[in-house]
């Protein structure tokens, strides 16, 4: 029996062992040197060695013995190109087996290739011996062995200590134990009562057994009920530690904490909290409290988290993690000041803590944005109320308002609930409804949760939250801003994605090709444009252009951007003819650039040159068919032209240039534009110029009228000025300045309602017009709607913090508001006004604005939803990052973001990576008409072409989702048509994955 004792200290470290050189063995057939580079070369060698007869034999054989792989595949070139991992694995096995000869280097190469393609491949697994001391550096080995030694000594010391307690404590412990199963507890000791074989086990009637016992004792009643499965796991929150030694306690506390960590790791936070509590009940440690706090943060149990953080800090005042977590909690509880204090403490301890810095910055921004408002919070008024002209949505909105107030009022510390009021009913509907029935803290939490989800996803909500996100200052966001324009897939987004670097340079002024002076001028111009000083911006851009031209350098794309930017300024100023000129120049330099085309189209449209505008829009759509603004405008113009020219309107159109394929969707992606065909025929341009001349008159008239109006304003004759401006508007409805000017006149005339309407109009077109905000704020003040007024002033200050008047007014209005608040609170119930939250766009790039809402958006409010969407420009700080959603919450967030932006491409991405089968789970009960619609649209536009089967799958599982029937019933006729259309397309693109019958039955489900 004398087994010898071995001690092997073995390292199973994670380093992947370099492949050891395989031994060369001599095969019977041929001796190969490692230098044989490929089998082809090898065959030649054989030829020499063996003579000519043997070669045909070898070549005839053709394949390997085991897997029938063509011998030619055992070659560097083949392996290098092969992407079929299975095949490569076979090759590797053949190579390793040595039946075709030994080629260590080729084997190694093949292994590398497989590793490159599939790092987890099983073929790469190799037996390897345990690591020994020699496999480590002296240092590593020293740490390993010294750790082990110290542990051994520690254990030995523990062993020597008296471990056995007196027998009495042992007995005590045993008394705590549950009774012996069966014998002394529920079941009598008689063995026959216990099932003995499997079938008996199945038949064993627990209820009956229990009822038998119940006769004897009532106590077991509760136990019997517990038998019904599935029972919710009941884990004691505390551990009875009587009679335990300190050592045992430590052991158990650690173990419970580990269980908590494991539960936390898989996202089971409730269980994690339980185990942390258990650990704490044995021995309270800072680490356990700290982890518990983190789990509670995940559960959004802010109060408990706060308590736990404080306990940690009681034990370890300098615990960075606890400080960070407490800051998070305070942040969530809206105690920004305390949050900032905590973060500052963190930064005192760890000055380099990047997360703390970032959070601090965010919170400070939030605080700054909130300050004026928070003054009013205590009074239970934290909702922006704005009149919106349409009545349809009123009821719902009003309800929301009420809800928000109610829930807001529940908590005096008051989380501003304005986030809720804003997001589309899609996200909010269900949550809001719930508020009716309940009225407690749970509600508040719900609100919070909802808010979080909507905020991050939608970013519709509070205007205060906005800038902080924007200013977080990542370069990449410049790109993001580009898409924050009108609707979803804005043209800038398309452009910016295709030539990210370049547009970044446009935003940041760090262009590589622009000379520094020009770049500086350009960024100054961008700044001016952002702040709405278009005239000055034009000057800057002109300087930049002159400078670049003066240099004589060939940088057509930069020049083109400069022209394009100047065109944007002109467009804003209403100087349409100059705008068109600049656009033409930009297009000469860079044919088929989206932005100049779009700008020219808009300018043409506002000059009522519908045909040119139409052509330009169409060209834009050829380049990128996803530009909603262009689509809308093209449709609108079509209508106008049909009215104007009758059914044969198309004949009068100038020819629409054909966009070369290379130019589609990726403009400016190379400097070699010269090789591209010049898109516009000269006749085309000539004709356009003629028309331009014709329209010059209208333009002139417009200008004179405007100037006259301005003169009247200067003289104080506001009535007359209003008339002039109104005439101007007949000529050009898109000119913002006219509206803001007229709003000013109305203000002076105390016609606040009209002034407000004008401002609203401007803001529809241009969401960050500072003047419009300022004037609307004054109008609200006049209308005694102080809350709205305060909010507008805040926006003004957000756009430009240096507007002194706004500050002054703000203070005044805030005071008024405070005076008035009690009265207002009383009035709230009556004031069922429609609320929309206006968003301020802080753009880093001036180019983003020219796609401001087109006219019809203002007039065609159909539903409140739309109104909200249009008022609130979709914001995303960067391109929606779509990652596979792990749970319904993630999914919901992405959907919300997608929905806000109407970003069908992103939605399509999402749908592509989402397993259709999971759709119902992921959607949970959040399916809404809007979501359904955007799904349908993105499936149609993006997914259908690539993978019709996926579309079918999605449609199929979509119909399994909760609320599907309800949503379907609520679809409008128009929307139904879209669904129908998708089905038609599906039928056309039919493939073998689904049959027409399937489609038909699914159609029935969709009630088509």
């Amino acid at each position: 029996m004398g087994a010898k004792m071995n001690f092997c200290s073995i390292e199973l470290g994670l380093k992947i062992e370099k492949d050891a050189d395989r031994r060369h063995r001599e095969t019977g057939r041929v001796q190969f040197e490692p230098l044989t580079s490929s089998l082809t070369a090898l065959l030649e060698k054989i030829q020499i060695v063996m003579g000519d007869e043997s070669v045909p034999f070898l070549l005839d054989q053709g394949t390997t013995k085991t897997y029938q792989i063509p011998i030619a595949h055992l070659d560097y070139k083949f392996i290098e190109k092969c992407t079929d991992v299975k095949h490569l694995e076979k090759i590797l096995r053949v190579l390793r087996s040595g039946e075709e000869g030994y080629y260590p280097e080729l084997t190694l190469f093949c292994e590398k290739r497989i590793k490159h393609l599939d790092p987890g491949s099983r073929a790469l697994r190799k037996d390897k011996p345990a690591a020994t001391a020699s496999d480590f550096t002296a240092e590593e080995w020293k740490t390993i062995s010294s750790e082990l030694m110290s542990w051994v000594t520690e254990m030995n010391e523990d062993d020597k200590k008296p471990q056995f307690l007196g027998t009495d404590t042992l007995h005590e412990r045993q008394d705590n134990l549950p009774p012996i199963r069966c014998s002394s507890s529920c079941l009598p000791a008689n063995q026959k009562n216990i099932p003995r074989d499997y079938s008996e086990w199945d038949k064993f009637d627990v209820e009956k057994e229990c009822s038998k016992i119940d006769e004897g004792c009532e106590e077991n009643n509760s136990k019997a009920r517990l038998f019904s499965r599935p029972s919710i796991p009941i884990i004691e929150k505390k551990i009875d530690t009587t009679g335990m030694t300190e050592k045992e306690k430590i052991f158990i506390a650690t173990r419970e904490k580990e269980k908590g960590n494991e539960a936390f790791a898989i996202g089971d936070y409730v269980e994690a909290v339980t185990y942390y509590s258990r650990s704490i009940s044995v021995i309270p440690t800072a680490a356990a409290y700290n982890n518990k706090a983190q789990a509670e943060i995940k559960l959004k149990d802010w109060d408990s988290a706060l308590q736990d953080c404080e306990k940690v800090l009681g034990m370890e005042p300098g615990n960075v993690k606890a400080l960070m977590r407490r800051a998070t909690v305070h942040n969530q509880l809206q105690n920004y000041q305390t949050a900032i204090e905590d973060l500052n403490k963190v930064l005192c301890i760890e000055p380099e803590n990047a997360i703390a810095k970032k959070n601090l910055l965010e919170i400070e921004k939030k605080l700054k944005g909130l300050k004026p408002v928070s003054e009013t919070e205590g009074k239970g008024k934290r909702i922006l109320i704005q009149d919106v002209e349409d009545s349809e949505g009123d009821e719902e909105r009003g309800e929301n308002t009420e809800e928000c107030e109610r829930s807001g009022g529940d908590k005096s510390s008051g989380a501003p609930v304005r986030g809720e009021a804003a997001p589309g009913p899609g996200a909010m509907g269900s949550a809001q409804r719930k508020f009716h029935s309940k009225g407690s803290k749970a509600e508040e939490r719900e609100t919070q949760k909802q808010k979080e989800s909507t905020e991050s996803g939608l970013k519709k909500g509070t205007s205060e939250k906005k800038p902080q996100k924007h200013l977080s200052g990542r370069e990449g966001e410049v790109n993001g801003y580009l898409r924050s324009d009108q609707k979803g897939e804005s043209p800038e987004a398309a452009v910016s994605r295709s030539h990210g670097a370049r547009s970044q340079s446009a935003g940041g002024g760090n262009s590589t090709s622009l000379p520094p002076t020009a770049a500086k001028l350009k960024s100054e111009g961008n700044e001016l444009f952002k702040s709405g000083q278009f005239g000055e911006a034009v000057l800057k851009y002109s300087e930049a252009i002159d400078y670049v031209i003066g240099l004589g350098e060939q940088s057509p794309d930069d020049l083109s951007i400069l022209y394009s930017n100047r065109a944007a300024c002109y467009l804003k100023e209403g100087n349409c003819s100059d705008c068109i000129q600049d656009c033409n120049r930009a297009l000469e330099l860079q044919p088929f650039s989206l932005k100049p085309l779009l700008r020219r189209a808009m300018a043409n449209e506002s000059l009522e040159r519908y045909r040119q505008a139409y052509v330009d829009y169409k060209t834009v759509l050829q380049i990128d068919s996803n530009i909603q603004a262009a689509n809308d405008s093209a449709n609108r113009i079509t209508k106008t032209l049909i009215d104007q020219d009758g059914p044969s309107w198309r004949e009068k159109l100038p020819p629409i240039p054909v966009v070369p394929v290379a130019a589609q969707l990726h403009r400016w992606d190379g400097g070699n534009f010269t090789s591209e065909n010049k898109p516009r025929s000269t006749t085309d341009i000539n004709r356009e110029e003629q028309l331009q001349m014709n329209c010059e008159k209208a333009e002139e008239k417009f200008q004179t009228l405007k100037n006259e109006g301005n003169d009247f304003v200067k003289k104080g004759k506001y009535e007359e000025a209003v008339n002039k401006y109104s005439e101007c508007m007949k000529l050009n409805t898109k000119e913002c300045t006219i509206y803001t000017n007229r709003a000013l006149c109305y203000l002076k005339l105390y016609k606040y309602e009209e002034a407000k309407q004008d401002c609203d109009h401007v803001l529809q077109i241009e969401d960050s017009n500072i003047k419009a905000f300022y004037r609307r704020a004054l109008a609200y003040k006049g209308l005694q709607n102080y809350q709205a007024s305060v909010d507008d002033f805040n926006r003004v200050l957000l756009i430009d913090p240096n507007v002194l008047e706004a500050k002054k007014e703000l203070e005044e209005v805030t005071q008024l508001l405070n005076l008035d608040s009690s009265a207002v609170v009383g009035n709230q119930q009556k004031q069922r006004k429609k609320i929309t939250i206006q968003e301020v766009t802080e753009s880093d790039e001036q180019e983003e604005r020219q796609f401001a809402t087109s006219e019809d958006d203002v007039t065609d409010h159909v539903t409140s939803k739309e109104a909200v969407q249009k008022c609130v420009p979709p914001q995303s700080s960067e391109k929606l990052h779509i990652s596979e959603p792990s749970n319904a919450y993630d999914f919901g967030q992405i959907i919300n973001a997608v929905n806000t932006n109407k970003d069908k491409a992103a939605c399509a991405d999402l749908l592509t990576i989402t397993d259709p089968k999971k759709l119902p789970v992921l959607l949970s009960n959040k399916l809404e008409g809007e979501i359904l619609l955007i799904f349908i649209q993105s499936l149609e536009y993006y997914v259908l072409g690539k993978d019709p089967d996926l579309v079918y799958q999605h449609l199929f599982y979509l119909s399994k989702a909760e609320r599907f029937k309800v949503v379907l019933a609520l679809l409008s006729k128009n929307e139904k048509e879209q669904v129908q259309q998708l089905f038609d397309l599906l039928a056309e693109n039919q493939n073998h994955q689904y049959s027409l019958e399937d489609l038909e039955s699914l159609k029935k489900v969709y009630e088509l």
Binding site: A3, P178, K247
Partner: protein
């Protein structure tokens, strides 16, 4: 302690194993566990070739503190719960034997098992190769999982005294273990004769489909044993017939459960990735265990009459 009839207690001392005491018993011992004893007592429970269950006080090993002739044939496997601070509730020992029965014992009750699971009369008796406790997260709940030579895995619920679930993995089940005995059933690993192992997600039981599982082929030879790292339940080591050890990590899926077409919850299995492997011997490594105190320290016994102590480093970085 696998050597027939002999128990050896050893101590790590200065990089060598030092023999503390050698105890010889008449009947060859097949398996043993400390699982049902308190941290203070440290009594060892053993099952031997004669079907006897003995509990020994290792300080006084002459007479067992508890002894029962539990089975007619060899006790293949033993597991304990409720001791060592692991698992709520009473200390219990479960034994699985070649005679096809699985019996649960309470050291406080002499002579008779507290639960007995055996095939019906007439049904062919299968050799029970392995047993394991689990789900002991409170005083009432407790399950026993048993694996048989025909590939059956049966899960007995000791609270309701019912067969909760059974499945067949086609090949003899060499070893089963819950990742934790003392939590709400989370995962179960079952290894098989032909070199595969299955990881079952035990959180969600579907009414008909049972538990979701993922299987992985570790090696060409039998996987003799699986043991989860006491400090991290998602890492486990399998010991194989070719003398190799494989260290695995289980990765949870994004969502552990989903609704099937009838709306019943069903589990979703995750994936398993190999962290490291090592070959120690040409003979099978038949048993394996981790140190509960020192993370990464483990011991394994092989058919080449050798006990090896290994340390696995960098486990905290996984």
């Amino acid at each position: 302690p696998r050597a027939p009839g002999a128990l050896r207690l050893s101590e790590l001392r200065g990089g060598r194993l030092a023999l503390l005491r050698e105890i010889e018993k008449a009947k060859p011992i097949k398996c043993g566990t400390f699982g049902a004893t308190s941290l203070q007592q440290r009594y060892l429970a053993t099952g031997d070739f004669g079907g006897n269950l003995n509990i020994w006080n290792l300080e006084a090993p002459e007479i067992p503190v508890y002894s029962v002739k539990g089975h007619k044939e060899i006790i293949n496997s033993i597991d304990g719960v409720g001791g060592l601070g692991i698992g709520e509730g009473a200390p219990e020992i479960v034994t699985g034997s070649r005679d096809g029965t699985v019996k649960v014992w309470d050291p406080r009750q002499k002579d008779t098992p507290v639960a007995n699971m055996e095939p019906v009369q007439g049904e062919s008796k299968r050799d029970c190769w392995t047993v394991a406790f689990g789900n002991a997260y409170n005083q009432e709940e407790r399950v026993v999982c048993a694996g048989y030579d025909n590939g059956d895995i049966k899960l007995f619920d000791l609270k309701t005294m019912s067969l909760r679930w059974e499945t067949n993995i086609k090949n003899g089940v060499c070893s089963v273990e819950f990742d934790r005995k003392d939590v709400n059933m989370n995962k179960l690993v079952a290894t098989s004769l032909e070199g595969k192992f299955h990881v079952f997600d035990m959180r969600t039981q579907h009414p008909t489909k049972g538990f979701a599982s993922v299987s992985e082929k570790a090696q060409k030879s039998t996987i003799w044993q699986v043991r989860h790292l006491p400090q991290n339940r998602d890492i486990f080591m399998t010991s194989g017939g070719a003398g190799s050890l494989h260290l695995w990590k289980y990765e949870y899926p994004a969502q552990r459960s989903k609704k099937d077409s009838e709306g019943a919850e069903m589990g979703v299995a995750g994936s398993v990735s190999l962290l490291q492997n090592v070959t120690l011997s040409t003979q099978p490594i038949s048993s394996l265990d981790w140190s509960p105190d020192k993370k990464g320290l483990c011991v394994c016994g092989a058919f080449d009459q050798t006990v090896r102590v290994l340390i696995v480093t960098k486990l905290n970085k996984v």
